[in-house]
C-alpha cells in the first residue's frame, strides 16, 4: 500500500464530519490518553478543543521536556540558488515573479564563503536550499555542495526539489543526512491549482519522496504543509498521518515537522485560508501530543515575540540569523532575490541569549560526522 492510498482512506468529508460532532468529553479523553490515536488527534485539532488550549500546552511542554530535555537545537539555511522552473502561485522564486537579473546559483567558492561565515557564528547544522530547477542545480551540483558543507558542519540537510532514490543516495554518499520536503498541501485539487506548471506539479512523486529518501539512507526527514494554502485543520491531520506512516515504514529515520506560515507572498497572491496565531498554537500543541518524539522546527518566518512564546509549546529547533537569498551571509548586501522576508531579524547572539534566558540550553552540535562517513547502503 502506498501512502497516497492510505491518505484516501481519510477523505475530507470524514474529517469534517468528525470536527462537527466531536464533544468536549472526547477532547478530555484525548488529553489523558497515553499513546494517541488518529481519532484522538482529530479531537485535539477540533474546535471543541479550544477551551482546552492551556491544558494542552502544559501537557505538550511536559512531553517535549521528557523527550528532548530543556534544549533547543540551532540551525541555519543556506540558499544555493534562487533559479526556479516551477510556477507556484505563492512563491517569490516562481518563474513569473521576477526577472533574470536577480537570479543566481552559487559557485563552489561562494558556497564555501557562506559555510565559513556561518561556521564562525557557531553553527554545526545547516539546511541547503534551491529552487525547483534541475537544470540550474542538478543533483550532482547539490552533491558537491553537500561535500563542501560537510567540511564545515556535522549535519547537512537539503530542502530542494523531490528526487529519485538514486539521486538521494548520491547525496548521502556526499555527506547528506537530512531531507526536508514540504508537501505544501495534502489536498490534491488545491495542490494542482497552486502548482500550475513545472515538474513540481506531480503530486504523487512529491508525496512518496520522503520514503525514497529514507530508503536511500537519509536519517532525518522533515515534513510540513504551507499554512494558508488549505484548511489547516484538515491539512494538519493529513500531515500527522504522513508522519506516523513514515515512522513505521522508515523506522530508522527521525521524522521532524515544520510549520511554515505564508505571510510575505507575491503581491498578486493572498493565502486563501489564512492561519491565525491561535490556530497555529492549537495545531502545534495537537501535533506535539500526537507525535511526542518528533523534532519540531520553527524558522525566522515568524516574528520574534511569537517565536519566543511558541518555544515552550513543543519547539525543539530554531533557525537564527537567517538569510533567504543566495550569498546572503558572505555578501549581505547582494541584490539577489530572496524567497521570503524573514520577521525574526535578531542576531544569532541575541537568539542564543533569549534561549538561555528562557531556561533552555542552545545546542549547536547534535550530530556527528561518524554517522555519515560510512557510505550508506542502498536499502532496496
Amino acid at each position: 500500500m502506498t501512502f497516497e492510498a492510505y491518505l484516501n482512506e481519510w477523505p475530507e468529508t470524514l474529517i469534517q464530519e468528525q470536527y462537527t460532532t466531536l464533544s468536549e468529553r472526547q477532547v478530555e479523553a484525548a488529553l489523558s490518553a497515553d499513546r494517541r490515536t488518529p481519532e484522538n488527534l482529530l479531537a485535539l485539532l477540533s474546535p471543541a478543543a479550544l477551551p482546552f488550549l492551556e491544558a494542552m500546552a502544559q501537557e505538550a511542554n511536559k512531553q517535549t521536556r521528557r523527550q528532548f530535555g530543556r534544549t533547543v537545537s540551532l540551525y541555519a539555511p543556506i540558499y544555493l540558488s534562487n533559479v526556479c522552473g516551477s510556477n507556484c502561485l505563492y512563491c517569490s522564486f516562481s518563474t513569473v515573479n521576477a526577472g533574470k537579473e536577480t537570479r543566481t546559483t552559487l559557485t563552489p567558492t561562494q558556497i564555501e564563503d557562506e559555510c565559513r561565515t556561518l561556521a564562525k557564528e557557531g553553527f554545526s547544522s545547516v539546511l541547503l536550499l534551491t529552487g525547483d530547477a534541475v537544470h540550474a542545480a542538478p543533483p550532482e551540483y547539490i552533491a558537491q555542495a553537500c561535500t563542501i558543507a560537510r567540511r564545515w558542519f556535522s549535519s547537512v540537510a537539503v530542502e530542494v526539489y523531490s528526487m529519485t532514490q538514486e539521486e538521494y543516495h548520491l547525496l548521502c554518499t556526499h555527506g547528506l543526512d537530512g531531507v526536508t520536503l514540504y508537501q505544501e498541501t495534502y489536498h490534491k485539487p488545491t495542490y494542482l491549482d497552486m502548482h500550475r506548471s513545472g515538474r513540481k506539479r506531480d503530486f504523487s512523486f512529491r508525496l512518496e519522496a520522503l520514503e525514497r529518501a529514507a530508503n536511500a539512507g537519509v536519517r532525518r526527514l522533515g515534513a510540513g504543509v504551507l499554512l494558508g494554502l488549505y484548511k489547516w485543520r484538515v491539512d494538519a491531520f493529513w500531515l500527522a498521518l504522513h508522519a506516523r506512516w513514515l515512522q513505521t515504514r522508515c523506522w530508522n529515520s527521525t521524522i521532524a515537522l515544520s510549520f511554515p506560515r505564508l505571510k510575505h507572498t507575491p503581491s498578486a497572491f493572498n493565502p486563501p485560508f489564512p492561519v491565525s496565531d491561535i490556530n497555529m498554537v492549537q495545531m502545534i500543541l495537537a501535533l506535539r501530543l500526537f507525535l511526542p518524539e518528533s523534532p519540531f522546527y520553527l524558522s525566522t518566518r515568524e516574528a520574534p515575540s511569537f517565536r519566543d512564546k511558541l518555544l515552550p509549546l513543543g519547539i525543539t529547533a530554531m533557525s537564527a540569523g537567517s538569510s533567504t537569498r543566495p550569498g546572503g551571509y558572505a555578501a549581505p548586501t547582494s541584490p539577489t532575490l530572496e524567497q521570503f522576508q524573514i520577521e525574526d531579524v535578531r542576531t544569532v547572539a541575541e537568539i542564543k541569549t533569549f534561549i538561555e534566558k528562557s531556561g533552555y540550553d542552545p545546542v549547536w552540535k547534535d550530530y556527528d560526522q561518524a554517522f555519515t562517513e560510512a557510505v550508506p547502503k542502498q536499502l532496496q
Binding site: R66, N252, E293, A374
Partner: protein, 265 residues
C-alpha cells in the same frame, strides 16, 4: 557491611568507585544546572554523548565545562549511532581526542523509543574490547544477551528499566533479577528511573549501580533531586546488604485446608 564504609566500593575494570549513582548529561538547561546536579549527587561517573561535543574545541562545550575530571570520570557514549561501525568510529575518535578508553555503548537504530539494538551492540562490543576499550553496553533487559556480552569481555552490563526518558521505573524487574543473579560483571540499571524510589528499587534488587538523567534534568531543583537520588541509591544498597525479608503474595489462611493432618484429636 556499612554502605558508608570504604569497604562498600565497587569496581569496574579494576577501577574503584564509591558512588553507585551515575549521571547522564543531556537535557539539562545549562552547564550550571548540570554542575549542581553532579556535585550534589556525589557521582564519580558522568556520561557524555559524543555527538553533542566537539573534542577539538572543548572550551566551547557547556557540557564538558560542567565536569571536574579530577572528581568524575568522563564516560563518553555513542548515542545516536545506529550501527556497530558508527559506534566504533565514535569510540576511536573519543580516544584520539584525549578521553580515557572507556565507552558507554549505545546503539539505538530507532529514534523514537531509543531502544538498543542487541545484534549491533554485541558486534561493536566484541571489537571494542579487542581494541582495548573498557566497554559498558546499554542493553535491553535480556539475560542471555547480558551473558553473551560478559563473555566477549564487557566491563559491565547496563540493562534498561524502561525506555529512556519515560520515568516509568523498573518495568523489566523480572529480567533484571535474572541478569543480576547470573552476572559476573557489575550490573548498572540504566534508563527509565524517574523517581528516587525507582533507584532504590533497582538497588534493592542487587544492582551494583544506577544511571539517571531525565529525572534530574527535568526537576525544578536539579541539585536537590540529585541528592535525593544519591540517598535513595544508598538506601537501596543498604537494604540489599541488610537482607530484605521475603515478599508474601498470600495471606495465611484463617481456615486452613490441611490443618486436619496435624490435629491430634
Amino acid at each position: 557491611m556499612d554502605t558508608n564504609s570504604p569497604m562498600d566500593t565497587f569496581t569496574i575494570a579494576g577501577r574503584l568507585f564509591s558512588s553507585r549513582l551515575m549521571i547522564g548529561t543531556g537535557k539539562f538547561p545549562s552547564a550550571a544546572a548540570l554542575r549542581a546536579a553532579i556535585e550534589a549527587s556525589g557521582s564519580e561517573i558522568v556520561t557524555v554523548a559524543l555527538r553533542r561535543v566537539d573534542l577539538n574545541s572543548p572550551e566551547h562545550q557547556s557540557i564538558l565545562s560542567a565536569i571536574d575530571p579530577k572528581k568524575q570520570l568522563i564516560l563518553p557514549n555513542t548515542s545516536g549511532a545506529q550501527t556497530a561501525e558508527e559506534a566504533l568510529k565514535l569510540a576511536r575518535l573519543a580516544r584520539a581526542g584525549g578521553l580515557e578508553p572507556w565507552i558507554k555503548l549505545e546503539l539505538t537504530p530507532e529514534p523514537r523509543y531509543l531502544l538498543p539494538d542487541p545484534i549491533q551492540t554485541l558486534r561493536a562490543a566484541e571489537q571494542l574490547v579487542k581494541e582495548g576499550f573498557v566497554v559498558l553496553p546499554y542493553i535491553q533487559a535480556d539475560p542471555v544477551l547480558a551473558k553473551r556480552l560478559e563473555e566477549v569481555g564487557t566491563a559491565t552490563v547496563m540493562p534498561l528499566g524502561a525506555p529512556i526518558g519515560s520515568n516509568r521505573g523498573v518495568q523489566t524487574k523480572e529480567m533484571i533479577r535474572i541478569i543480576i543473579e547470573q552476572a559476573h560483571v557489575p550490573v548498572v540499571v540504566d534508563a527509565g528511573l524517574g523517581a528516587p524510589s525507582h533507584a532504590a528499587e533497582a538497588m534493592e534488587l542487587g544492582a551494583d549501580a544506577v544511571l539517571v538523567n531525565t529525572a534530574l534534568s527535568d526537576a525544578r531543583d536539579h541539585g536537590a533531586m540529585a541528592k535525593a537520588f544519591a540517598l535513595a541509591t544508598t538506601a537501596g544498597r543498604m537494604a540489599y546488604l541488610a537482607g530484605l525479608g521475603p515478599q508474601r503474595s498470600l495471606a495465611a489462611a484463617s481456615s486452613p485446608l490441611t490443618g486436619f493432618l496435624f490435629n491430634q484429636d
